[in-house]
Amino acid sequence: MAIEAPLPVLKPTDFASNQDVRWCPGCGDYSILAQMKKVLPTLGVPRENIVFISGIGCSSRFPYYMNTYGMHSIHGRAPAVASGLKTCRPDLQVWVITGDGDGLSIGGNHLMHCIRRNMDLNIVLFNNRIYGLTKGQYSPTSPLGKRTKSSPMGAIDNPLHPLSIAIGCEATFVARSIDTNIKHLADTLKRAAEHQGTAFVEVYQNCNVFNDGAWDYAKDKDTKADTTLELIHGKPMIFGKDRDKGIRLNGMNPEVVELGKGISEDDLLFHDEKSPEPTLAYLLSRMRYEDGFPEPIGVFRAIDAPRYDVAVNDQIDEAIEAKGPGDLEKLFRSGDTWTVE
């Protein structure tokens, strides 16, 4: 199958399939698709070695729009489909596209186990805090009190926070970005692709039809500098339009402080995405706008750890080393046999 030829230089349009994109006009998904098409040509991976696997939901239409291999599977199961694929074919670059309902509700179990196995998969969760495809029910990330068709008096389910879950499963790469923050999004996707192991990326995505403005605080150009915090490895956590605010640790808890007035950069929390302990990343994942914190974006955690897709194939090599390649004749005659003349 391997055909030796110099890799052609690909453009974003080379990754577009011939299918019309059918998201609602103005949907945040368009921007994520555009950034993906921009990033893929920079990775040096031939199109035929890239596979997109999705579940069900608006975001899960994604594979149809990519001129790569793809499967639009069933609700919540994309991580499992991708796991089977990647176990057999560690040579492929496999992306899992999911949403807050698909990944955290019906597919929560698969997501959790997929992350803990740490196969080299890239999971992108489009978080719009609503069920879009089924026309507007509250999702597992909808805030308490959210009024929707299925929660006319307000949602009473305590929401899940995707990154807290990923970190709880000891994900080796955890990041967050925002659909409209295109440069940041592209950089984040690229880093996810380059990570060896399961990369989990949450993207704040606007569903302008059923949950318009859910992330406005983090996207609005007037407020975003105060409501988000861009994480940079080894750097102090500073934010604000005037870069005059920071995050300091007070005991076990983070707090927002103003720089100056006796507080210097050295007093702030420094980001360490390579920390072997997930504690810092978890703490960051719990900083919420509604609690008066800026919400971190960027890479929370990026560590090296053994990969299932490598280990499972290594075991085959080890077994062959120890027992020799499988020999049917030998297998059939193993143990006690007798012969009838």
Binding site: L7, V51, M71, H72, I74, G84, K86, W338
Partner: protein, 626 residues
């Protein structure tokens, strides 16, 4: 093998022995060892391990009774036997739950030491049956202090009381080995292999085995030894094989011969887990076992593996297959080849996990949303699992379809002699993937000629091409939404939907053109045709042979292919006055046969977690003959 001169030796055509005791008494091991030594003695064998209904039942209770029945014979046999010739009961609960199967005049051996007040109470005995004379006249009754004798035999190995008592099953084995003039050698080899690293345990088990054997040899009350001559099996090398093991080996063989790696996606479930265990042992055959987080993931990971281009298999039992239902729909829609194994157990819901049943046939054929056809085939015996596994893969590849393979708990855990097939007898399944094209030559979708690649183009069997990721130029997207014919793009067009549903149905129906014609055992016309599938094969074959020997116009037809049926089945059925369908369900095949052929078939149906006895089938046939 020498016997003490005063003992009689009696030649038998066949014998059925059952060990029963508490689940902690090692009865399965005792049965397996007797099976091995009998197989090596050249007998035909059939076994029936009967696991306790409750895995963790309190010691000494009826719910915790575990049994292992073995039928060994100098002639060809198909069942583990209806009644028992020799019963070994290690405690009162085992005696009370098993005695009814021992024939009058049979050999009854009990461990007297277990018949204490508590043991008798747990079994519901008010009087001690070993002492009230009720057993003595009716059976060749031997009440033996097995616990004491075993402790004495292993004394020198310095084991704790608990450890010493664990050797008791070896004493019982030794005694039965003497009774049927069986060699101890295979068991001695087993002890060495299993306990070699713990010399005191190995020594104690050996001592207990020999003590049991010598007890039979020397104690006067054991006055008869039985011999069962080797069976006249066809020439070849044989081994004993269990159903789940044969199935796993069949999968390994199919993968190896078709030059594929084998991927098993599985979640532990009784009675299918042994397939996962067995395959996990054979990684050097390029076997990838993926123990998934649940049945759904096992199924969908299997779909991922099929997409990847490997031989993809998932194995489970009814409740697990229920969870896989949505994934099976995706497998049908994506038209990827894979094998789904259902080792059936008693249902519905959690049902009877350790007991056998055949009530998942409807589930196999219909258990999905939408018109969702899939070929279904079934194994008939432990050894047959080997062949059926390969056949499932052959159909899957040739028709690009998931194939459902049914076995059941009875087949999965039962064993029989299996002729080791010479490799030349095995037919490799040829797998083709469409070749890619040089990416520098063209840009965009296209095959080697630069034409647009059509993932849902079809060959003469209506199978689509199996283009796998990594192939340049054949990039395509598949999924669960309805496909446009040819391109595979999403299509909501009504006419296309009708066309695709018709095509998937037709493709499944075309499998009938690719499988052997149905064979018949007996004359092709007559009064009664017994039509069976799956595990009841043995009981039906034996019953029909018995009727044929008595001059009755009875024939037997055993189905391997359940969807679609073989092309000539209707014709066969039309030539008999009555069609009898024995099934361990309420009549699922019967319903299908009635619907398909408008034939008013008669059922013999039982759902007791147990296989049919030959007598049950014979009785039913006789009642139909009038």
């Amino acid at each position: 093998m020498s016997t003490v001169a005063s003992k009689q030796v009696s030649q038998l055509e066949d014998a059925t022995v059952r060990f029963c005791g508490d689940s902690g008494d090692g009865m399965q091991l005792a049965g397996t060892q007797l099976t091995n030594t009998s197989a090596l003695a050249g007998n035909d064998i059939a076994t029936f391990p009967d696991f306790p209904a409750e895995i963790r039942a309190p010691r000494g209770t009826k719910a915790g009774v575990s049994g292992f029945q073995i039928h060994f014979s100098s002639t060809e046999i198909f069942t583990p036997g209806d009644t028992v010739d020799a019963l070994v009961a290690m405690n009162p609960a085992a005696l009370v739950t098993n005695l009814q199967d021992l024939r009058e005049g049979g050999v009854l051996i009990v461990n007297k030491d277990a018949f204490d007040k508590k043991g008798l109470e747990q079994a519901g005995y008010t009087d001690d049956p070993t002492e009230d004379g009720s057993l003595t006249g009716k059976y060749k009754f031997h009440s033996i202090d097995m616990t004491k004798l075993t402790r004495l035999a292993v004394e020198e190995y310095g084991l704790s009381m608990k450890e010493a008592d664990r050797c008791r099953n070896f004493f019982a084995m030794g005694l039965v080995f003497w009774l049927y003039d069986r060699s101890m050698e295979p068991t001695l080899r087993f002890i060495e292999a299993k306990f070699g690293k713990k010399p005191e345990i190995a020594g104690a088990n050996t001592a207990a085995l020999k003590a049991g054997y010598h007890y039979g040899e020397t104690v006067e009350a054991m006055n008869t030894q039985y011999q069962v001559a080797p069976a006249k099996l066809g020439p070849g090398t044989y081994r004993n094989i269990m159903g789940n093991e044969a199935l796993a080996w069949g999968l390994v063989a199919a993968a190896t011969l078709s030059k594929k790696r084998l991927f098993l996606g599985a979640y532990p479930i009784t009675p299918a887990s042994d397939i996962l265990h067995e395959l996990a042992k054979h990684k050097h055959f390029n076997v990838l076992t993926f123990q998934a987080e649940d049945e759904i993931a096992a199924m969908t990971a299997t779909i991922g593996a099929a997409f990847a281009g490997e031989m993809a298999v998932t194995a489970s039992s009814g409740p697990g297959i229920a969870l896989k239902g949505e994934g099976l729909g995706l497998a049908v829609m994506t038209e990827l080849p894979m094998v789904i194994v259902n080792v059936q157990r008693g249902g519905p819901s959690t049902g009877l996990p350790t007991k056998t049943e055949q009530a998942d046939l409807f589930q196999a054929i219909f258990g999905r949303n939408g018109e969702c056809p899939m070929p279904v085939i079934a194994a008939r015996s432990p050894g047959d699992c080997f062949d059926v596994a390969q056949e499932a893969w052959r159909i899957a590849v040739r028709f690009m379809t998931p194939v459902m393979l049914l076995t059941d708990g009875y087949i999965a855990n039962g064993s029989e002699p299996w002729r080791v097939p010479p490799l030349a007898e095995l037919t490799p399944v040829e797998v083709k993937h469409p070749p890619g094209h040089d990416p520098s030559q063209a840009n965009g979708n296209g095959d080697a000629n630069g034409d647009e690649f059509l993932p849902y183009a079809r060959d003469e069997r209506l199978a689509r091409p199996w283009a796998i990721p990594g192939t340049p130029g054949l990039m395509h997207r598949i999924g669960g939404l309805e496909k446009a014919d040819g391109t595979g793009n999403v299509s909501y067009d009504p006419i296309n939907h009708q066309h695709m549903i018709d095509t998937r149905a037709k493709k499944t129906a075309l499998v009938a053109e690719d499988i052997p014609l149905q064979e018949l055992d007996g004359a092709d016309t007559g009064d009664v045709l017994v039509l069976s599938w799956g595990g009841p094969y043995g009981a039906c074959a034996t019953a029909v042979h018995r009727m044929q020997r008595a001059g009755k116009a009875v024939s037997h037809c055993h189905l391997r292919y359940l969807n679609p049926f073989p092309k000539n089945l209707g014709e066969i059925l039309g030539n008999f006055k009555t069609i009898l369908i024995p099934e361990l369900n309420l009549g699922q095949l019967r319903t299908l046969i009635r619907a398909e052929y408008l034939i008013d078939a008669v059922g013999l149906n039982k759902v007791q977690g147990k296989p049919f006895s030959v007598a049950e089938v014979v009785e039913k046939i006789e009642s139909l003959l009038g």
